[in-house]
Assembly symmetry: C2
Homo-oligomer: 351 residues x 2
């Protein structure tokens, strides 16, 4: 593709020039009005705005992009092959927030997929061509080369979550540590004492932080966790099942489980059932994400809610600010924000 015929040369959509003629002013003046420059008299501005309305003028983006060397669009990069990503509402919610934040602007949202090798290459090329003003990176792995490429190209970018404690890019994360602490604190307050945890992939920073929060809450309460109460899942339901089976084998006396995601909690629930443990009577269960699964599970799952849509909104606003920032790149680099949004424990019947 990429060829295709030019379709019926724009059935006479009005141009800047025509607006100028109609309003009896010069092109430059119309351009100033369109772009909200203050250097136009009130009277002239009114005349131009009238002409714009009469003609139904809409600026041609391509021409503007060409002349001004900006695109008025940002890209969301989706690490597609992870089907986990698509099977959870995370993606939809982030996009939801991004869309909301963008609604107040003229910016367009581009969706790009960084799935296979080929797609990654063409994405790199795409970014090198500066075809977007900024990039939103969703769910990036620690070893992804994309953030470095963006830094090198000096393309504004914001990452959801972060890759490590010292993230160089601007980032918006949720308080995984605090959420985990709250979840475990809740279990403690319910009288549970032998609290196990199922972690996500620990090369994902957020998963590590959830584990940290678990350890911290228990330690603070004077019940430092023994190592055999921690099992590692990989964010999948099956991983949750395996981890739960391990835990039961090692510590049949456990009376609560904090899972690093709802999906893993779903797997754990199944194994607990099969082992004849009642939830929450014998074992309390808490998840993370507060996804649809949590509400529909039997019993409904207590879970830590992340403000995902708000993360999307915040990411977008941070990105727009970076794009608008005209200071030298060194200053911009120093000003990069690291935002952490609060999480919230949603109590249901599983605990």
């Amino acid at each position: 593709m990429g060829s295709g015929q030019p379709r019926g040369r724009s059935g006479g959509r009005p141009t800047l020039e025509e607006v100028a003629v109609r309003a009896g002013v010069g092109r430059g003046t119309v351009s100033r009005v369109i772009n909200g420059s203050p250097r136009v008299s009130e009277h002239t501005r009114a005349a131009v705005e009238e002409a714009v309305a009469e003609l139904g003028y809409v600026p041609n983006t391509a021409a503007r992009a060409l002349a001004a060397n900006r695109t008025d669009s940002i890209a969301v990069v989706v690490p597609e092959p992870e089907s986990r990503f698509f099977s959870e509402p995370y993606f939809s919610d982030i996009i939801h927030g991004v869309g909301a934040a963008l609604a107040d602007t003229d910016m367009q949202l581009l969706l790009t997929f960084a799935g296979g090798d080929r797609e990654r290459r063409s994405l790199a090329q795409y970014l090198s061509a500066h075809r977007v003003d900024g990039v939103l990176l969703v769910s990036v792995h620690a070893d992804d080369p994309l953030p470095d490429l963006l830094e090198q190209l000096e393309i504004p970018a914001v990452i959801s979550g972060r890759r490590s404690a010292e993230e160089r890019l601007a980032s918006v994360d949720s308080d995984n540590f605090g959420g985990a602490r709250a979840a475990v604190g809740h279990l403690l307050s319910r009288g549970r004492r032998t609290i196990a945890t199922i972690t996500g992939r620990l090369d994902v920073y957020g998963a590590q932080r959830r584990l940290d929060g678990y350890v911290d809450a228990l330690t603070e309460a004077g019940h430092p966790p023994s190592a055999d109460l921690t099992a590692h899942g990989d964010f999948t339901e099956d991983g949750g099942r395996r981890a739960m089976a391990d835990l039961l084998a090692r510590r049949p006396d456990l009376d609560a489980v904090f899972a690093g995601s709802d999906v893993m909690a779903a797997g754990a629930r199944q194994v607990l059932r099969e082992a004849g443990r009642r939830i929450p009577d014998d074992v309390a269960l808490v998840g993370f994400d507060d996804s649809a699964i949590a509400r529909h599970m039997d019993p409904p799952l207590t879970s830590v809610r992340q403000p995902i849509a708000e993360m999307g909104r915040t990411m977008t606003n941070v990105l727009l600010a970076e794009i608008a920032d005209t200071r030298p790149s060194a200053a911009r680099r120093l000003a990069r924000q690291q935002i952490v949004l609060p999480t919230e424990l949603v109590c249901r019947e599983s605990s």
Copy 2:
């Protein structure tokens, strides 16, 4: 927004002209090579391709769009306010398919939201400005003016599902009728005889077709359904609850329920539970969509799977074909495709 400074004028990215100089040919020739025109000698083509590779040349989209009056991008219009839309994986899956189909092309994917009135207006303006080559319409209501606008502007468009039996736009739908028939047939084959149904909003064509399929299957089997076995939901969980309560009140003897969506089935399940009916022992339950909820429900829900990602892929291919079609618009109008993709019954423990 929409203003913002031009960022560091393109640190010398190579242009067509520079490639031409390097390859020792004219601009026109390079353009021909880039666009795969056959009117270039093998020898010249090789020289140009080498120069392109050496310089790392990437065409400037804005310039191309301006000169050729095409954008190489398509838009997916998302009817955002429907939170139902975002809470189900439908959206993600469609996008997934669209992305896959687009991976083979140079087309870009734009996401536009048609939420509030303001957004709708700016979308209309956006489309009027022909800023995309084509549009994918997802989940459109029967009375939405957008499709008509698109037709009038002669912008190629494909709709997911359809608005009525005689859809004027090209469309890709799943076989709702067949899926419902299969679901009901399955219940009949399991010996159920008093089969009720909970419909979605009947102004959604697909919901009507599911009801039609239900009626058809029962009629064909010689058990034409009585009217009191049909209750109307609105695709929400709460609607499912209410409909189920109605049904139980009217026909306490029912032994199976076919719900028009998994979410409504979830609501129904709850009411059945509370009424002391065991699933599937007393009442068999079948849903529609095969969403994550179906898998995680207790007991896991038998459901009709729609090939959503494939719908996205197919829609995209149909749209690309329409965009490439250069015949007069009357001929194009006649050639609009109406595609129906098969559905599949996924049997689980609820039936």
